[in-house]
Each structure stands twice: as structure tokens, then as C-alpha cells.
Symmetry: D3
Subunit: 152 residues, 6 copies
């Protein structure tokens, strides 16, 4: 069985994430969407809320599981028996950053591979940080979020 991990902060999950995860799920037998928890980082939404949203968004697909972990991503991959990480790329800034991380994970993870999907054009401007920026300014971010993510 081919298992892959899609790691992220998902603070909050966006329509961009949802599309990438559904597309990636078609390539593997199981895809684990995993929230990486960094105790030194501040999040806008707490872990419990972010998990609930992920579970609601992917409730319709049995091949997608939701999880969370602390520490290195590659360690989590080993624990769940996965040799593959999936990440999305929106633009060339993403690429340079993700390239370094993937090459590092390959070393640390003793062969763990990262595969990339490119964001759909119509979703390539969406990011969690832009959603947070809108919310901080009391704007309406619903057009950038899955319908299950309701922020009031």
C-alpha cells in the first residue's frame, strides 16, 4: 500500500490546500494530511480547530486521513509507514524554499521522497498567510476557503 503525507500548518486550510490534497489523493492508496505543530510558533487558530476543519473538509474521502505531529516531518513519515511527502507549488518563490526542504528531508529521512503538484492557475494566489491578513483586517475571506471553514 502506497501511503503519502501532506504536511502543513493549515492555519487555516484554504481552497488551494483542498484542491492539492484531493488531486494528490488520487495518486496514492492513502494520503495523511498532517498538521506539524511547532511549539515556538504562534498560530491564529488552535490545533483542535484546525483538526476539526480538516476532518470536515475531507469527511467524504476515505483515502484521506487527518493527523498531527511534533518534531521532524520525516520522523512522522516513518511512524506512519510512509516514504512519500506531497507538497504544492504556487510560484518560483515557493519552489526555491520547498526545494531546500525536500532535499533536506531526503537526507534526514534516509530516502524519503517529496513529490510536488503545481497549484491550479485559478487558486495560485491563495495562501494561509493572505487569509490571516484579511481576517486581521476584518475582511471576508470566504472565497478563499473550503465551504466547511466558516469564520465569524
Amino acid at each position: 500500500m502506497k501511503i503519502a503525507v501532506f504536511p502543513g500548518s493549515f492555519d487555516p486550510i484554504t481552497s488551494g490546500h483542498e484542491d492539492l490534497i484531493r488531486r494528490a489523493a488520487r495518486m496514492f492508496d492513502k494520503l495523511i494530511v498532517a498538521i506539524g505543530v511547532n511549539s515556538q510558533k504562534k498560530y491564529l487558530f488552535d490545533l483542535e480547530q484546525r483538526i476539526k476543519w480538516l476532518e470536515a473538509v475531507f469527511a467524504d474521502d476515505d483515502s484521506i486521513e487527518v493527523a498531527h505531529y511534533e518534531g521532524l516531518t520525516v520522523r512522522f513519515c516513518k511512524e506512519v509507514g510512509s516514504s512519500f511527502i506531497v507538497r504544492g507549488l504556487r510560484n518560483s518563490s515557493d519552489f526555491e524554499y520547498e526545494k531546500q526542504i525536500s532535499q533536506l528531508n531526503n537526507i534526514l529521512g534516509e530516502g524519503i521522497e517529496t513529490m510536488f503538484l503545481v497549484s491550479q492557475p485559478s487558486l495560485s494566489h491563495i495562501s494561509s498567510s493572505i487569509v490571516r491578513e484579511i481576517l486581521k483586517n476584518n475582511g471576508d475571506a470566504s472565497a478563499l476557503l473550503p465551504k466547511q471553514v466558516v469564520i465569524t
Copy 2:
């Protein structure tokens, strides 16, 4: 059965290609390495030679097949029952180009997905065009080529 296509000119196949293809083959049940033939383009090596090299390099892996096609890559994917294209990314110039092609193939191919692997750091400077440049200047390109590709 999950089948993917790794398309390219392979004029000639490099060590960079070989590494990407072997890594991609682990993710799918079958990987078809497919030479796209463009009748208006000039190649340094003829099709027969390029096929022979691909077959020699991957003779040890039953999950990797060699093929060639004319016309759109997505049409070939449909013929062989594949919904996935695999491509490598070396740097951000590659990324911008491949992004456009993958978004186009998604439209033309009615949902065909492209997944990307990033070149290993130690192979990221290798390309067929650089190999051809060395050969045209009577240099020795063997350090950039699989051992089965012997050019005299």
C-alpha cells in the same frame, strides 16, 4: 494499476534523468519513459539510438517501460491508460516553464495530473543541452551520463 508517463527528448538521457526516473518508478506500478518525437525539431542522436540507450539503462527494472510517440503528450497518456505525467525540476527557470506546460496538459488532457520531483543537488547542473554542448566541443561528457551511454 497506477501508470505514469515520464516524457522527454532524451537527446541523450543523462544521469539526472536516470535518477529522477528511478525515484519516480517507486511511486507507481508502471512508469513509461516516453520519447516525444517532434518532426520539425533536429536531434543530435536519432530516435533508434535514443531508444536503445533508454532500454539499456532501465533493463534492470521491470516496472519501467520505454516508448515513443508523436503529437500531444496527453494523447499518448490516454492511449497507454495513464492519468499521470512525471517531470523533474532543477531550478526556478525549469519551474516557470513546467508550470505552464502542466497547467495546459491538465486542460487538454481532461484532468491529467503532472507531478514533479526535484533534482538531487549533486545532479542539478546536468541537462541534455549541456551534454550536447560538451560533445560539440569534443569534450568528455561521460561524468554526466549513465554508464550505458557510451559516446565515442
Copy 3:
């Protein structure tokens, strides 16, 4: 009266061009869509055909004119009394190229300014060269073209 020039090859005009030109037209009193003719370059469609398409697409907007010119773009701008060039940017590769051209036009044109619009996300993967590639492979490019551009 503020007049701007949107230069290009338009071989053929795409939905990406159409969107950029309509958006730019809102900023100026008159926008001249101008086909730059380079006698040493080969085009897929002849000049007459490209002009007809441009005229058909923008027939509904009196503030948009269609024209063509040979030689330097800045010379054409002066002839038509325009101090502004408009161009679209899809990605960072476009940017580096357009930056150089705009800085050059500023010098050659004795102060002619270039302003840029960024392609809409859902159109950012469209280019004339990709349309031509599809057509050469007998594919259907109609999803990337204005409805007035019918290629059989």
C-alpha cells in the same frame, strides 16, 4: 487625452491578451492595440488575419483601436501621440524580460513609460506560443482564445 499603446505579435490573440487589454482600456482615454511586424520573424498567422481577429474581439469598445507598425515600438508611440506602453506580466520570467525592454524603451523613447498589469490567476497559463503548440499538434485551443477567434 491619455493614449496608451499595447504592443504585441498577437499570433494569435489569446483570452489572456483580451482580459489585459480590456482592463488596461479602463485606465486610459484611448488604447491602441498594435501589432509589431518584424520582417525577419515567421508568424503562424498572417498580418491580415491577426488584424481581423483583433478588430472583431474589440468591436464592442470604441476606446480600443487596432493598428500595426514596423520598427521600434517607441517610434510608433510617438507617431500616435502616446507616452505610455502597457504590457502584461504572467510570471517572474516574464518580469525579467519585460523589465529590460521597458527600461530600454524609456531611454530610446525619451521618457516613454511602460505600465504593467498582472494576468488574472485563471488566465496566467495562457500564451500565444502554447496556443501555437496545440494547433501544430492538431489539438483544440478554443478554451484559450476569445470566441471571435475561430481556427479550423
Copy 4:
């Protein structure tokens, strides 16, 4: 009357900003240079000082107004009756960032357009953050600042 907004922190205004703003002012009937105030961000110079500098630099041009606002830029644009935002681009890192912001503003602002000017080559290395870095190290930044911005 065509009104545009040039938003920024201007902490402090640089010669790069001044040049972009004067060039942009030629394209519109009125250009509002607007300091966006983010209460969670720390600035090196207080708002009053930054406004004074902007007013001094553009005292000679009646078509340029100085203002400030809190919250989303697109909300400010609506308040002042502007449908256009103007921003400068120095390099491809700027581009990727500004592209996302402009696409977002287009959604949030119900059609608000952002147009971009590219920095002149001789000013493309100047940024407020570099000016601040020099000042923090007790260096002389006057070569990067309009003559009205005197920092002692």
C-alpha cells in the same frame, strides 16, 4: 476624473518611491500617496514624521495628495473614489509578492486594478528596509533619500 492610490509604509520614503510616484502621477488626474497604518507593526519613524516628509517631497505637484488609512487598502480606495492602485517593482522577488497582493485586492476590492511600474535601473537597489539598516548602523543614507528627508 481618474484617481489612483499609491499605498506603502514609507518608513521612510526613499528616492526610489519618489521617482515611481512622480512617474505614476503623469498617468492619472490625481494620485493619492497613502500611508497604510498597521497597529501591530513597529515603525522606525512615527506616522506624523512620515506624513510630513511625504508632504514636503510632493509640495511642488498639485496632482499628488498625501493621506493615511487603517485596514484594507481596497477599503481606502473605495472611500476616496479610486479604482486603481499603483505599485513599484524592483526585482522578481518583489514581483511574486506583489502579484499575490494585487490578485487578492482585485477579489476583495470588487474589481480594483493594480498597475505596476518598474524601478529605474539606477534606483532599483533602494528600499526602506535597507535605509533603516544603514541608519541603525549609524551610516549615511542621504544618497538614497529625497533631499527633503533629512535624518540627523
Copy 5:
């Protein structure tokens, strides 16, 4: 005598730094590896430790000296009689950042030149920030560090 300065935080020195510094040392009569101390920045390793590591790594090469400084890099260069700064480039993100800094140092330093070396492919994924990230997650970073840098 041609003296160059290789400035950095070296928090900690990586194998990537070591390779760049040894390569740069061949081009000059003396190369000063200089730790820039910014009192407002937090470091993972204290200055004393970082100096010790640098001295240990380059103990075998008399043309390489270790130093540290506060304030502007160009001021330090003048103090030690150097007209040249050396920096490494790993990718295009590095490039845009370093370009700005080098153009600034040229102005502030009254002609001080920065020359760049590109990281070797097999080391281009290594950075101090990635090393620190591994260490914070209790991972083993020794593959990315010179053998003299032992972190327990």
C-alpha cells in the same frame, strides 16, 4: 597584498560555508572570515563558540583568518584594509537579496566590491537556518557540518 572579507553569522558554520571559503581563499592573498555581530539579533550559538568553530575548521590554512565586528560590513573592510567582500550564492532567492546588499555596500563603502561564488551542487541545499531547524527538532545535522563542528 589582496585581502578579502567573507562576512556572515556562521550560526553555525556549515559545510557549504567551508567549501565556499576554501575556494575563495585561493583567489586572494588573505581571506578574513568575519562574524558580523548584531546586538538586536538572537543567535543559537554564542559568539565565542562560533569563533572557536571557525578557528578549528580553518586551522590548516594560514591565508584564512577569523575575526568579528559590529556595525556596517564596509566599515570593517576598511579597518582591515580590504576592498573586496566575498559571498556565496545558492539559488535565485539568494541572488536577489545579495545583489541589493552588494550594491549598497558599493555605495556605502566607496567602491568596495563584492564577488560571488556559486555553491557546489552537492552543497547547495545547506544553510545555517536549516541546520538550526534540525537541531531544534533534535535531529542529527552532522552531515551538513564540518567535522570540527560537534554538537551534542
Copy 6:
């Protein structure tokens, strides 16, 4: 004696080249400006003319020599006893291209190093290809050329 080679087509030499070469010459005891001749490439100016211009521009500096070569650049470097290649970088597109070439030359040249200088901001828009484009359109390129390069 430290000898470096600055290779290029110089078709024709621009003010950008001149500045880079003079800056590089300060770092080495001798700098050889070398025209690489590729018999399959068409040039706008013949070799004799390009050599004359280079000799005229650098007639005032004894540490700069002019030469030409066929074949691999690293082979020429060995012939003239140089271990260093110098190249200029204008933007991130240049960077990705030059990075690949330099890594290749390091392999082919058994240790030959390439060092890079970044173009001055005010010259970063200049390239030989843009000069040729102006000349083909009967424009005046003299602002982009050393005063010794007179094209009528």
C-alpha cells in the same frame, strides 16, 4: 601571478561589459578578455571588428589583455595558465543560466572556479542582444556602448 579570463561573445562589447571588466581587473594581476568563437553561430559583427573594439576600449589598462578562442572555455583557461573565470550577473535569469555553466566548467576544468560580479544598477538593463535589436531597427545605441564603439 593570478590570471583570470572574462569570456564572452562581445557582439558588441557594451558599457555593462566594460564596467564589469574594469572592476574585475582590480582583483587579479592579469585579466584576459576572451572572445569565444562558435563556428555554428551567426554574429552581427565579425571577429576582427569585435577584437578591435575590445583593444580600443582597454588600451589604457596594461593588466587587461584581449584574446579569442574556439572550443571549450576551460581549455582556453588552461592554455593561458588561468584557474579563474569571471562573469557578470544582471538578474536572476542570468543567475540560473550562469550557475549551470559554472558548475559544468568546474567539472570539465578540473577545478576551474568562476567568480561573479553583479552589474551596477544603472547598467543592469544593458545587453548585447538589446543593442543588436536597436541597431536592427536603425535606433541609436550609443548610450549603451563604450565611447570607442562607434557604429554608423
